[in-house]
Symmetry: C2
């Protein structure tokens, strides 16, 4: 099964959302990417349609923006 | 296990998010409430902290606002 990708940047809103998501979903079905630590993946996230973090990109390619931690512009700083 | 509650109002963003959420989570663990059809539950949603729909209230009481379909003010109209 294709995994979902949870993008975050370590912000408090991100961490809280990550804990919730990993409790609600099967953790094995979610790849977690910290864009602050893996800046090379920011372009991937943007081309998937991620506009802010935290966000979950589903296996079908939809982007679920969950609450609002930081914009992608903030993440790039 | 306590269920999560997915609040929506029938908007296109809501329907799309609902389909994604029910694929990612165990559908038996989610109660879906259409606030447009069950207006008596709007007060419950607001006291749980829901500010816009679609939103998922987790068993721990956190609110995950997922994308943005409509504000609670819109839902009340």
């Amino acid at each position: 099964m294709k995994k979902s990708v949870f993008y975050h940047a370590g912000c408090p809103v991100c961490v809280s959302a990550e804990q919730e998501i990993l409790q609600l979903m099967d953790p094995a079905s979610v790849e977690v990417i910290h864009l602050g630590e893996e800046k090379s993946k920011i372009a991937n996230a943007e081309s998937a349609g991620v506009k802010s973090v935290p966000a979950l990109v589903t296996p079908t390619g939809n982007v679920l923006h969950i609450n609002y931690g930081a914009s992608m512009a903030d993440v790039k700083q």
